[in-house]
């Protein structure tokens, strides 16, 4: 062994030992309690401390992720893989019961349907416009259409349509409630995704006053109340109101409303379809509020698609689970063959 080798081995070995000891000692001496997720994320992150994420080092990012100030894919170095891991660590599985809530708009009066009483100029923000003499809209309950809700939605779930009305993309909406909070006219509510019928008007004015300013407002005719087979339509302050406990998404009210103030996703309307499992007990026939089910006892029953309003009463009643609720389009197909 020559001198270079000796020097090298001695010094490197010495340094290795020294720093090993040092770190071992330090890790013992200065151990600190932390959020276990923090450690886990720290573990998952590359540990390069390069700062590319914009946070002071990996632990900075980890802290930010834990406190919700950074996305799980905040580390550009680690890429997808690390992101997945962190998502797992953070992904406290949505364990809560109840269905996902989404935002629904309670106004249908866009540019084409509702009139303005004045011409507004200035900051294009609904809250700001509202503060200027109550905003330019003829209806003081209706959507102002400056899209503040679309702007604040953190998930890009709201877009403004041609008619100056916001449209919620149900798939993107997370029910965070930002839009509910921000709309100066309180036009959003959060309802379960399965709720499909909504009154798109908040005007508490009398019918004739509503008519003056908007062609799709609720005029208080109460036709919907009469039409609803389930008594799910209520009235309050000159305004129809869906009782979501009772509503079965049958959408009869939507069909009947003379102004179109009640809305739903019509293509989503469901129809009952009776499968081979039917034993012909006739229970469904009895509960159907519109007499849409035909058939004799002990024989396969059939749904009259024309009449069926998709309330799913029959499906609930059927002891054999032989009734499926299918989307209208599919139901037609199912009926013909």
């Amino acid at each position: 062994m020559d001198k270079t080798m000796i020097v090298s081995l001695l010094s490197m070995g010495g340094m290795g030992a020294f720093f090993g000891l040092f770190l071992a000692y330090a890790s013992k001496k200065f151990a600190i309690e932390t959020d276990p997720r923090l450690d886990a994320i720290n573990e998952a992150l590359p540990g390069a401390n390069c700062g590319a994420c914009g946070f002071p080092g990996c632990s900075g990012l980890a802290e930010a992720i834990v406190s919700g100030n950074a996305p799980v894919d905040g580390c550009p170095v680690g890429g997808e893989e690390v992101a997945k891991k962190i998502a797992k660590i953070m992904g406290v599985e949505a364990g809560e019961a109840g269905e996902r809530k989404v935002a629904r708009l309670l106004c249908r009066g866009g540019k084409a349907e509702a009139v303005n009483r004045a011409e507004y100029k200035g900051v294009m923000d609904c809250r700001a416009a509202q503060a200027v003499n109550g905003g330019p809209k003829g209806c003081k309950y209706g959507c102002l259409g400056f899209g503040t809700c679309a702007e604040v939605c953190p998930f890009g779930a709201i877009t403004m349509n041609e008619n100056n009305l916001p449209v919620v993309d149900i798939d993107k909406c997370t029910g965070c409630g930002k839009c509910v909070e921000v709309c100066p006219r309180g036009l959003f509510i959060l309802t379960g995704v399965s709720r499909e019928v909504h009154v798109g008007c908040k005007s508490q004015e009398k019918g004739k006053d509503v008519k003056k300013v908007c062609s799709v407002g609720c005029i208080g005719c109460k036709i919907c109340v009469k039409a609803c087979p389930f008594g799910a339509m209520e009235f309050e302050n000159n305004l129809a109101k869906v009782n979501y406990e009772k509503c079965t998404n049958c959408m009869v009210c939507v069909e009947k409303c003379p102004t179109g103030a009640i809305y739903s996703a019509f293509p989503n309307r469901k129809k009952a379809h009776i499968t081979e499992d039917c034993v012909g007990c006739g229970a469904c026939k009895k509960v159907c509020p519109v007499d849409a089910i035909e058939g004799e006892i002990k024989k396969l029953h059939v749904v009259n698609v024309e009449k069926c309003i998709g309330c799913s009463k029959c499906a609930e009643r059927c002891p054999k689970d032989a009734i499926e609720m299918i989307r209208e389009t599919e139901a037609e197909k199912a009926a013909c063959c």
């Binding site: 720093f19 770190l23 071992a24 540990g47 390069a48 390069c50 590319a52 550009p76 680690g78 893989e81």
Partner: protein
């Protein structure tokens, strides 16, 4: 297939220079001439591949508390080797790259890959990941340095490619040119990929 993906992603999708923007110091510093860009790229490639492979090999032996010092030692070792070899056999290039060869030690790219990939994956995958990243880094450096050399000196690898009519824009071989050129390239790449995506 997986290996292919490991390899290919560094070239474009996760290109360390244009996409992840890590290990920027050498990218900016040595790309004033094409030859430097290539040399730096290759030197980094060498260190990256060697250290990723070795680290992946010994990953199970290393206690997590001392992993960073261990990685650093491994990396620094390869860097020193690269440095000595360059000095011995390519003295001219060594002279130009100067300080930036030793700085490969602290190039975020290398430690980043060591931590993010090599310490968790098999040797083969780590090798290809490092190879892809290293090549991605190399082509990025080469590309950038060619642009800068053409604009700044009118030449590529020292050969004059633009005629006498061309007055070189000296700024492109000076520090501001490095930032601006890279900024514009990154911007253009964003425009480009945004459209296709």
């Amino acid at each position: 297939m997986k290996i292919w993906k490991d390899f290919i992603k560094g070239l474009w999708e996760e290109n360390p220079t244009f996409r992840l923007l890590i290990g920027m110091c050498p990218v900016l510093a040595v790309t004033n001439a094409a030859i430097n860009g290539v040399a730096m790229g290759l030197a980094t490639l060498f260190v990256l591949v060697c250290s990723s492979t070795i680290i992946s090999l010994i990953k199970n032996l290393i206690p997590s508390k001392v992993r960073i010092p261990c990685y650093i030692v491994v990396i620094a070792t390869f860097v020193t080797i690269a440095d000595l070899v360059l000095a011995a056999y390519f003295p001219d290039i060594h002279a130009v790259l100067g300080l930036f060869v030793p700085l490969i030690v602290v190039n975020c790219l290398i430690l980043g890959r060591a931590e993010a990939f090599a310490s968790k994956n098999t040797v083969t995958r780590s090798f290809f990941d490092a190879l892809g990243m290293g090549l991605g880094f190399t082509w990025a450096l080469t590309f950038l340095s060619i642009i800068r050399e053409v604009l700044g000196m009118g030449s590529i690898f020292g050969f004059r490619v633009l005629g006498e009519w061309f007055t070189p824009f000296l700024i492109f071989v000076l520090p501001p040119g490095a930032f601006i050129t890279l900024g514009i390239i990154v911007g253009l790449m964003n425009t480009f990929t945004r459209k296709t995506a």
